[in-house]
Amino acid sequence: MDSKVPLLSRRTFLTSAAILVTTTASVVHGRTFHQGMPWAPGAADPPAQVRPGPWAFFTSDEAATMEAIVDRLIPPDDGGPGGKDAGCAVFIDRQLAGPYGRSDGLYTLPPFMPGSSTQGYQNPDSPGGRYRAGLKALADHIRQSQSGKTLRELSTVDQDKLLSTLEDGSIKLKDIDAKAFFAMLLQDTQQGFFADPIYGGNRDMAGWKLVGFPGARYDYRDWVERHNERYPLPPVSIMGRTDWVSKG
């Protein structure tokens, strides 16, 4: 996601570039608003669309592992594509390469002390660092316990078994909390499956179609009181849908 702290859109920033209230003293940096609602032509702050292309965060080995994992967390079936074809690994890759992966905007000052679970995450590692370490520890664990194999070389049954042991914390990974790592994998994969396709996952709105969520629609006035009727229109993403393109 192309968000910034503080939020200033590229174009808003360019058009109203700073800032300035001139005083007898000097210039205040911040923005001053006076006499009228501000507006600039073309001002908008949409997220940048994720494009297909090389991995931005994962190495090719990590990516292959991730694609196998997301396809077990959300397996392909009659209901639609699995996590891999829905782009969940691409989603996570781009998120880790962005503000989320770096813990941008979070409070990251020391000291770091262990606390109770009600006090939340208390660790200096960002999601990017946790993935890097977690995937390495997982690969090492598999190599050692499965005679040199990688995760994607395991059968889907064995992959599922492995993921279950991560989930319940019954295996120990070096320097990493297996249970917490699994929780993060699952959370991010499901986010990728249900987030707007603009972020690289939920390809062809597969996640939304699975449950019947109409996506980035904004007007259901005519449908509030149509009880017990399935809403008929297909989902829309921020960047539209196929019917927005002429077939001619």
């Binding site: 911040g30 009228g36 507006w39 997220p47 967390l73 979070l106 939340g120 986010q191 996506g215 904004y218």
Partner: protein
């Protein structure tokens, strides 16, 4: 060394609901007003148009409109014997940021407190005897009565265009409204919203059990409306993107849709954004504020002198600025002495989820404050004799959205991933509904706010420290409310149902609500309050805290915004009609 700016009549800290209301009224009264806001300017068409406003990942998960912990956060612990640790990523509650503040991302639930809530301690003691209150419960009466505040509730509802149905017009009960509410001088500005199937089924079940369901008062408008400032609002389109989102079609009340267009036309008003107030400055006597010092985006410090200082930040940060500025005596839970930071309270929520296999619920057709509610178990609307607790809450069906990253229930026992999870998710989404209770959180001696001894913010100021946990009274209340709700849920004939009463300890990592209250409490006695009945500091007469939820002596079973807005108008009147004529302590 801060450089000094030309003096203003009024400096307003924070440009959310209270800041914008106060700025408008004081600027209209001819005062030269500057509002200083640490976040950015926000505008409907530019910042949350209905083109990318409906982005669950960005706004609901990555919390784009909220305060970044890197900018300011607080430390938290449940008990005084723990070490408080920083909230590194907001989760349990979500402070807003930027112009509009929490008024941008709220749901629009627009409740009044009950008349008895305003004299809580007196009322409970009179009805049940003093023994019904636990020893460490520090609830107290408000310094204003419901009757005094009623016209101001009315003003805030008219500002917002609130949609609803009166249950008590000037003392006369009205069919279809809330029979327990305090008297209203006027009907709601706009009629109730339409209801979806989930709320309709709940209302039928509640009626069957003898309750009196009514539409939730909502500032997501049922029809277009022009408010008293001449500002036009649109009709809600039930898009299901209210809480955590800005409204893209001008239909949810906010400073943006209700105040700013008129405020920005007043020539003697200026907003200064992306500028953070470091402290309130006092003169050598410590009895008078001389203005504020703030830091701009380049790190330069500025002194803004002013005749009147209005502290209009989010409740928690009102308390922090008072503590950092050394105004009022900090609360000490050991001695029970001191006032700033005292009586921090929250909200006690719970839920009952149902699956109705044969119903199509379209959960995404929603708005932040639609739904059908019963108020039979709020406040002291029911007999607490032998229940073992005081307090209560409203309950009902008002599911606010069907956004699938965060809202996709599955039957009990479903695996968390894999083929079975996928199948259950697909099968359940259209048929699941969440009912909820929204209960009071009374104040206690060991729940308070003070400055953290270890952790600092990016500017080197101590973070505020929150010490809070649920008490037995609240957990018992939640169990009772949740049981009542489950009875109604059962009458909806669900395929499956799960009750989730609130359990301790309070967990800062699970979102419950952003109704953080208390810390700069208003009262009649300077020994137990920071502000007098007009929101004026007992210690510094030209400092007011106009109605942020930090002024609540305890939190009641309703969402706070309507009371916050009413108190903002109340303090605005006190300043223009009393203080300006004779600047000095109003009490």
């Amino acid at each position: 060394m801060a450089r000094k700016l030309p003096s203003k009549n009024v400096v307003v800290i924070g440009l959310g609901w209270t800041g914008s209301i106060l700025s408008y009224h004081l600027a209209k009264a001819g005062l030269d007003v500057v509002a200083i806001e640490r976040g950015p300017w926000r505008d409907t068409a530019t910042n949350f148009p209905p083109a990318y406003a409906q982005d669950e990942l960005r706004y609901a998960v990555r919390l784009d409109l909220f305060l970044r912990p890197a900018q300011e956060t607080l430390t938290f612990r449940n008990k005084a014997d723990q070490i408080a640790l920083p909230i590194r990523n907001f989760a349990g509650f979500l402070p807003g940021n930027g112009v509009g503040g929490a008024g941008i991302h709220w749901n629009g639930q627009t409740w009044r407190f009950l008349p008895t809530d305003f004299r809580l301690r007196s009322h409970l003691t009179e009805r049940y005897g003093a023994n019904i209150l636990p020893d460490d419960m520090t609830i107290q009466d408000w310094p204003v009565s419901y009757d005094e505040l009623e016209p101001y509730y009315d003003r805030f509802e008219k500002l917002c265009g609130t949609s609803g149905k009166a249950g008590n017009l000037k003392g006369v009960k009205q069919d279809g409204g809330n029979p327990f509410e305090g008297w209203r001088s006027a009907e709601y500005p706009t009629p109730p919203l339409k209801q979806g199937l989930g709320a309709t089924l709940f209302a039928e079940a509640a009626r069957k059990l003898g309750h009196s369901p009514f539409p939730q008062p909502a500032s997501n408008l049922s029809e277009a409306y022009t408010n008293p400032l001449g500002i036009r609002m649109g009709q809600c389109s039930y898009c299901g993107f209210c809480e955590r989102f800005g409204c893209g079609n001008y239909s949810k009340a906010s400073p943006q849709t209700c105040v700013l267009p008129a405020l920005l036309r007043v020539p003697n008003f200026t907003a200064q954004t992306e500028s953070e107030v470091l402290k309130i400055n006092l003169d050598s006597t410590g009895k008078r504020a001389t203005g504020v010092t703030y830091v701009d985006t380049s790190g330069k410090e500025w002194e803004q002198p002013a005749d009147i200082v209005l502290l209009c930040a989010f409740a928690l940060f009102n308390v922090q600025l008072m503590l950092i500025s050394g105004i009022g005596k900090p609360y000490d839970p050991v001695s029970g002495q001191g006032v700033v930071g005292r009586n921090y309270a929250y909200q006690t929520t719970s839920s009952v989820s149902v699956i109705l296999k044969d119903k199509v619920l379209n959960p995404f057709i929603a708005t932040g404050a639609h739904g059908m509610i019963i108020d039979d178990y709020n406040g002291d609307n029911f007999d607490h004799t032998n229940l073992g607790f005081v307090g209560g809450g409203y309950m009902g069906a008002g599911q606010t959205n069907g956004r699938p990253i965060q809202t996709r229930p599955v039957p009990k026992g479903t695996p968390k991933w894999g083929a079975a999870w996928k199948k259950a998710t697909a099968e359940t989404y259209q048929h699941a509904y969440s009912l909820s209770t929204h209960g009071s959180s009374y104040s206690y001696r060991d729940c308070w706010l003070d400055l953290d001894p270890t952790y600092k913010d990016r500017l080197g100021r101590p973070l505020m420290r929150m010490t809070f946990d649920f008490h037995e009274n609240e957990l018992k209340m939640s169990a009772f409310l949740t049981e009542r709700l489950a009875e109604i849920a059962k009458a909806m004939n669900p395929t499956e149902m799960q009750a989730h009463p609130r359990k301790g300890p309070y967990d800062s990592t699970i979102y419950q609500t952003t109704h953080n209250t208390g810390g700069t409490v208003m009262g009649d006695d300077p020994q137990t309050s920071v502000l007098n009945r007009y929101g004026q500091s007992w210690d510094v007469h030209n400092l007011f805290v106009p109605g942020g939820a930090s002024v609540f002596p305890q939190n009641h079973g309703y969402n706070p915004t309507n009371t916050v807005g009413a108190l903002a108008f109340w303090t605005a009147d006190a300043i223009t009609q009393r203080y300006l004529k004779n600047p000095g302590p109003l009490m």
